[in-house]
């Protein structure tokens, strides 16, 4: 530190400037990374979304073609709505599954906490797609689960899970569960256990202690878990593509089709922009309604 000041040949004034610059120095690698790999693509996406043309006539040109937006909005409304519906269901189910689990780990995990947490993360060590393809095998019409149950006569022969909304929602829930669990765990872990004891000392029942102490203190975690699950789940396309059927396509699938099947890059970009804006608006409304300042900070921290 000091050496810098000496080599600069100036007094504490320069040192002060240096100190002020340090944060920016720390920020710059990440900032540059985001500028190149987030901001630039974002600008290009906006640019592409206003192009017109086609692959048969030599390519696309920038023409302020706002019709891309109106076209996709009118054509793909059902898929937008479906994506948000699925994603909301996924988020609530994931919260219901993850909350008791992380609560138990945080409060009763003891010295096994780290190992248990690792177990939650374990699926991440296998590729997302491979895991989803395995689901396809497990849930096959005559696969290990349904085949067994059908063999026992517990299910009718024509029963199936694959190619239904259930398979898609269940698949997304499974894939995003760790995103829900981690922020919940962080929030629950931070709760001072003596507060719960204090509540009980003051004659609160177990339920009351949970409702008045644990739940409010864990809200920042719930808030963060909601956002971290809801936003990516809405844009998910792998599950609907692999596990779904007719009538389960989500907006991510449409964007993929536009891009890779139709080679209609402007409309693909327009859909992406709309999805992004919709997510930002929904998240903001959500933060306004539910978010305390603390919750917002927790979400940002997570």
């Amino acid at each position: 530190m000091g050496q810098g000041g000496v080599s600069g040949g100036a007094g504490h004034r320069t040192l002060g400037t240096r100190r002020r610059l340090v944060p920016y120095g720390l920020l710059s690698p990440g900032g540059a990374y985001l500028a190149i790999f987030f901001l630039l693509p974002l600008v290009l996406m906006l640019y592409t979304s206003l192009q017109s043309g086609g692959v048969l006539s030599g390519g696309f040109t920038f023409t302020w073609d706002w019709a891309n937006y109106t076209n996709v909005l009118s054509a793909y409304q059902p898929q937008f709505i479906r994506s948000i519906e699925y994603s909301l269901i996924v988020t609530f189910v994931a919260l219901l599954l993850a909350y008791p689990m992380t609560y138990w780990i945080a409060f009763y995990g003891g010295r096994w906490k780290a190992s248990l947490l690792l177990l939650i993360l374990l699926p991440f060590f296998v590729s997302f797609v491979i895991r989803t393809i395995q689901w396809k095998f497990i849930l096959g019409d005559n696969g290990p689960v349904l085949g067994f149950l059908k063999g026992l006569g517990l299910l009718p022969d024509d029963f199936r899970v694959l190619a239904t909304p259930l398979a898609v929602v269940a698949g997304i829930t499974y894939n995003y569960l760790p995103f829900t669990a981690l922020p919940l765990y962080v929030a629950l872990e931070r709760i001072d256990k003596s507060l719960v004891e204090a509540a009980k000392d003051l004659y609160a029942s177990r339920w009351q202690a949970f409702r008045k102490v644990v739940w409010p203190l864990s809200l920042p975690g719930v808030f963060a878990a909601f956002l971290l699950t809801f936003v990516p789940a809405t844009g998910d396309y792998v599950n609907a593509a692999l596990l779904g059927g007719p009538g389960t396509r989500m907006i991510g699938n449409i964007i993929q089709d536009k891009f890779l099947t139709e080679n209609n890059y402007p409309e693909a970009a327009a859909l992406s922009v709309i999805l992004m804006i919709a997510m930002v608006i929904l998240a903001t409304i959500y933060a306004r309604i539910l978010g305390t300042e603390e919750a917002t900070r927790a979400a940002a921290a997570a």
Binding site: G54, T61, F128, Q256, L260, T261, E262
Partner: protein, 435 residues
């Protein structure tokens, strides 16, 4: 010799089983979350390259064949193809190699870098487009593209080199009539067939109520059950038109709507399980589909070579869709002379047989049939009767060597020539699968 009897490596068989040409799990491509972003960047990044955007339009880019094919071939050749679409064998050390390519390398001294990177015409094209628009070398000397929209876009925009008619003696001598001068590429100006195939139907005889013979069976719950039929998104418009008695090649929006109405009716009948890109085959083998649209080679391989006796390939009563995968040379390729040499090399009947015995699609060289039967006799003389029978069944399959009468009942798909047409086509057909 190609080693692919039942005695060949089981691992290889399993791999092949999971990943045949076109039935590669689409997921593998989709899984790379970064991919779409990366290609997006690429797609947008070079947009400026065309300037007015119509720079390449018209197909009169003024390529000079003499200039393109001047000089000696380069020392390396980059060849992009579909997965499991070329002969394979193992050397003494157990390394997989491609015998026909090895032969080419030996004969010419050209080093071939062969990669099976194409999983879909549209996706592969999406990756090349920005480079082609900018007028740069894509890094490939040969690519394999199915007749259709992407083929047209490449030819129309001068994104591929015209081929040199003087440099294909084998092609002139041995190519099948259907491979010569196809309607979508007069005079084989831009492409030469690699393999071809038929989109027909397949069914699992354990799951259907009697044999499936015609298109309407796929919309009949009494025959195929509810939610057990697989449709192929890319091929179904043309396939349905053919089976409704419409010639796709001369069809217009009215006919398209007729086909779309059939597809809508089928969807409402409740028989459809899903609309597939290229991942239907595992579903069919696993018993998740009772019947589906299918590519000939996929089903033949499962049936003849892997012993799926319950799977049948069907040539529908109303006709079937014919497609050709074509070798093309992208504009800017660094070794067009070598590419031309390799393309013609694969029209040598012996070489063509090496490929066809392995991939089981329709060879553009009809003489391969006799050679394959010869190989069957040889195999029998050597005492491997199983292999001999399989080779014979392959060589006698009408889906590999169709008769004229048979071909008369197939038709190519509609060639979309303009963006307006393509947009109309998409607006009629995509809503059916995109729900």
């Amino acid at each position: 010799m190609i080693d692919r009897g039942p005695s060949s490596d089981p691992i290889q068989e399993i791999m092949r089983r999971r990943l045949t040409r076109r039935s590669v799990l689409r997921g593998a491509g989709m899984g790379v979350a970064g991919f779409s972003l990366a290609s997006f960047l690429a797609a947008c990044g070079t947009d400026g390259g065309t300037g007015g955007g119509n720079g390449g339009n018209g197909g009169n880019g003024g390529f000079d064949i003499a200039e393109i094919y001047a000089g000696e071939p380069g020392s390396t050749l980059n060849f992009a193809n579909w997965p499991f679409y070329i002969d394979q064998a193992k050397d003494e050390n157990g390394n997989v190699y491609n015998p026909s390519l090895a032969l080419f390398e030996e004969q010419t001294g050209i080093n071939v870098n062969y990669e099976d990177v194409i999983n879909s015409n549209e996706e592969f094209f999406g990756r090349l487009r920005p480079v082609l628009e900018a007028g740069d070398d894509t890094g490939w000397d040969i690519i394999v593209i199915t007749n259709g929209r992407i083929f047209t876009a490449l030819a129309l925009n001068d994104w591929v080199y015209p081929l040199d008619p003087a440099r294909r003696p084998n092609f002139d001598a041995h190519a099948a009539t259907w491979a010569k001068d196809p309607f979508y590429d007069p005079g084989n100006e831009h492409g030469m067939a690699w393999q071809s195939g038929i989109t027909g139907m397949a069914y699992n005889s354990e799951m259907t109520n009697g044999p499936i013979t015609k298109l309407d069976d796929l919309a009949n719950p009494d025959k195929v059950g509810m939610g057990l039929v697989g449709m192929l998104t890319y091929d179904m418009p043309d396939f349905v038109m053919i089976n409704l008695g419409i010639d796709p090649k001369t069809s217009g929006p009215e006919e398209w709507k007729e086909a779309a109405a059939w597809l809508q009716m089928q969807k409402e009948s409740g028989t459809v399980r899903n609309y597939y890109g290229n991942d239907y085959l595992d579903e069919l083998r696993n018993g998740n589909l009772s019947a589906c649209m299918a590519w000939s080679g996929d089903v033949l391989y499962s049936n003849i070579w892997l012993g799926y006796d319950n799977l049948e390939f069907v040539f529908p009563e109303g006709g079937a869709l014919l497609w050709i995968d074509n070798m093309m040379i992208p504009a800017g390729a660094s070794n067009p002379v070598g590419a031309m040499q390799a393309m013609d090399f694969y029209y040598d009947p012996e070489v063509a047989t090496m490929v066809t015995e392995w991939v089981l699609y329709m060879s553009p060289v009809p003489e391969t049939q006799q050679i394959m039967l010869q190989h069957a006799d040889e195999a029998e003389a050597e005492g491997s009767k199983g292999r001999a029978n399989k080779l014979r069944a392959t060589a006698e399959s009408p889906y590999l060597y169709p008769t004229e009468e048979f071909l008369a009942k197939t038709s190519f798909g509609r060639s979309l020539e303009t963006d307006e047409e393509a947009a109309e086509w998409d607006s009629i057909f995509l809503p059916i699968s995109q729900t």
